[in-house]
């Protein structure tokens, strides 16, 4: 059952990649790159809430700070693009280590409040620090050839690079949640005292997951800075942290593909509603309320629940405990 589930997941992933390969023929590539960056960001966030049960309300600190680091190292220090992106990812991981070590000392609601407060601290740091350019941000970040020969100044070419980065990030997450390490994370999510009593160093597992999630959020932010040639305060605000929560919630927390679907929907919506000013905020809030009240499993989660329900109806005698598996599988 587990292997069949995995095969299905890989099949869906292959279809998505195929779609991704032909998508720029129909859709503006910069828009697609934005969706991919936010999809990776949301997948990184989902790793924590979906598989460890930790709601981080401050993930913008990794996303936005990595954007600053990659922008600064490429534009001001003149580093190669790929080194700049890796530097952003590494700094986000280091920041994740510090923030994670502080935040995992509390659980549940307190964890959310602590991460929110820490990200606000990073926001004020970015506002005051010299290298971030304050209110202006870092603008006109050059798109120099990747690895010296890939011309990413061309949006089409860069799109495929971003698609590759996204796939690498996604596969890292997928591998993580299907590893023994990932099983321990799920055990912690389901019953933390029990995991402790079984001898797992719960805090260490949580911290590693947190650092991994922060690093991948950083990878997304660092890439986005090169795509838009801009790193600004917007990416470190609490609103950005809220947006990634919203994307994951709408798509389906704890589902493999939910964050991708959610990111696609929310970015598309923002694109169409850009002219409506503050109504975007109202609509986002309304989506939060409606999703929490009516379909908490998110779009992908509801589809999977429906598929499971239909499967069970067509085969009335479930042999193994497979039907009780959470949609997280």
């Amino acid at each position: 059952m587990e292997t069949r589930g995995n095969q299905q997941t890989l099949l869906v992933f292959a279809i998505l990649v195929a779609l991704g390969l032909v998508a720029p023929l129909a859709v503006y590539p910069v828009f697609l790159m934005k969706v991919l960056c936010f999809a990776l960001f949301a997948c990184a966030f989902n790793l924590l809430i979906g598989y460890v049960g930790l709601l981080s309300f401050g993930h913008a600190m990794f996303f936005g700070f990595a954007a600053y680091i990659s922008g600064y190292s490429v534009k001001v220090l003149g580093w190669p693009t790929e080194v700049g992106i890796l530097a952003g990812t590494a700094v986000a991981a280091a920041l994740g280590l510090v923030a994670g070590a502080i935040a995992i000392r509390r659980q549940g609601i307190y964890f959310a409040m602590v991460t929110l407060a820490l990200s606000q601290m990073v926001f004020f740091f970015c506002l005051q620090a010299k290298f971030t350019g304050g209110e202006d941000g870092i603008q006109a970040i050059p798109r120099r050839p990747l690895l010296g020969f890939i011309n990413i100044a061309n949006d089409f070419v860069f799109y495929y690079v971003v698609l590759a980065i996204f796939c690498i990030g996604f596969l890292i997450i997928w591998r993580t949640i299907h590893s023994p390490f990932g099983q321990v994370l799920k055990a912690i999510r389901e019953n933390e005292p029990r995991a402790i009593s079984l001898g797992y160093a719960v805090d260490r597992f949580k911290l590693i997951a947190f650092v991994l999630s922060a690093a991948l959020a950083g990878l997304a932010g660092a890439t986005k800075a090169i795509v838009f040639q801009l790193a600004s305060l917007t990416d470190v605000t609490w609103q950005m942290s809220g947006e990634v929560v919203l994307m994951t919630l709408v798509g389906g927390m704890g589902t493999v593909f939910g964050p991708i679907v959610g990111a696609g929907i929310i970015i598309t919506m923002q694109n169409y509603l850009a002219g409506f000013g503050e109504w975007v905020l109202v609509i986002q809030g309304a989506i939060f309320v409606v999703t929490v009240l009516l379909f908490r499993r998110g779009i992908v989660g509801e589809i999977m629940a429906l598929a499971q329900y239909l499967q069970r109806r067509s085969r009335p005698a479930p042999m193994h405990g497979a039907t009780q598996q959470s949609p997280a599988e």
Partner: protein
């Protein structure tokens, strides 16, 4: 007068007073959060928006109905508290059987809606509100504006009144009992759901009261609540939500610390509370007044 490590006393006491005022807002808001959390296990993310609504309500009462500050001080908390009761009945009450994180997400969404609506209507530049008690007195070492003194004293009275009501009255004893064992209290014939609704309304009214007090000194502004609420969350984490008196003390104390930081190391004044939060979490994760679970 004397100088303190190169800082003129005027500046020092001026910032101390500002710190006490900020502390008053921290105390009122974290008290409301603690009261709501104690009974409902919901962190009310809408709290900042409700503080903003209090300020706007007071401004509207003056603008459209000519009701002065003193009337608004009574009316605005009642009006905003009533909207809180509606929110609890319509939305939050549907989530009690679920993970508490959903309550956080729901109230976050509500906060976005409220803030967006006010920004749409009033822009984000801010509206003025005249000082109801102009003038002040010279204490020799500093100038004390009457209104600022009033804020500190009045919010202290409200905080202590709340503490007295919860810790020393019969109503408060029901409340504390329902916090511990809602099922048993219900079995004794007390209408716990109604008590929860009223408690939420009361917590929201406290936030609105802070908003009314803030209107004359900060401009009335749709985004005034969202930044404040994050600081208040840090205050709540530092204090721990276990004790009412602890919330009050932490609120005022951190306001003063922030004020002192503005005098001695202004670059850190925005972040000092978050830094303290990080240190407290390392040394005493349950918070200064919290009890380990």
């Amino acid at each position: 007068m004397f100088e303190l490590i190169g800082v003129p006393p005027q500046a020092l006491f001026g910032q101390l007073l500002l710190g006490l005022i900020n502390g008053a807002f921290y105390a009122l808001l974290s008290l409301g959060l603690a009261v709501i959390f104690g009974l409902m296990n919901v962190i009310n993310f809408t709290h900042g928006a409700q503080y903003m609504m209090g300020a706007f309500c007071s401004w509207m009462l003056l603008q459209y109905f000519g009701i002065p500050f003193w009337g608004a001080l009574v009316l605005a908390p009642i009006i905003v508290g009533a909207t809180g009761i509606i929110i609890e009945r319509v939305f939050i009450s549907r989530l009690y059987h679920l993970d508490h994180l959903y309550g956080l997400l729901l109230t976050f969404g509500l906060a976005l809606i409220i803030e967006g609506l006010f920004r749409q209507q009033y822009g984000s530049s801010g509206l003025p509100y005249t000082n109801p008690i102009p003038g002040g007195t010279n204490l020799g070492f500093m100038f004390l504006p009457w209104y600022r003194g009033f804020i500190v004293v009045f919010s202290l009275v409200v905080c202590l009144g709340t503490w007295f009501m919860i810790e020393k009255t019969k109503l408060g004893s029901y409340l504390r009992a329902a916090t511990e064992r809602p099922d048993l209290v219900q079995a004794f014939g007390i209408n716990v759901p109604r008590m929860i609704t009223l408690t939420y309304g009361f917590g929201v009214a406290l936030a609105a009261l802070a908003g009314v007090l803030a209107a004359p000194i900060y401009s009335v502004n749709p985004v005034m609540g969202s930044y404040l609420i994050i600081v208040v969350f840090a205050v709540v984490v530092i204090g721990g939500m276990g004790s009412i008196l602890g919330s009050i003390l932490t609120g005022f104390g951190l306001g003063v610390v922030e004020g002192l930081t503005k005098v001695f190391y202004p670059e850190a004044s925005n972040t000092v509370i978050f830094i303290i939060m990080a240190i407290v979490l390392m040394l005493r994760p349950q918070g200064l007044f919290g009890t380990p679970k």
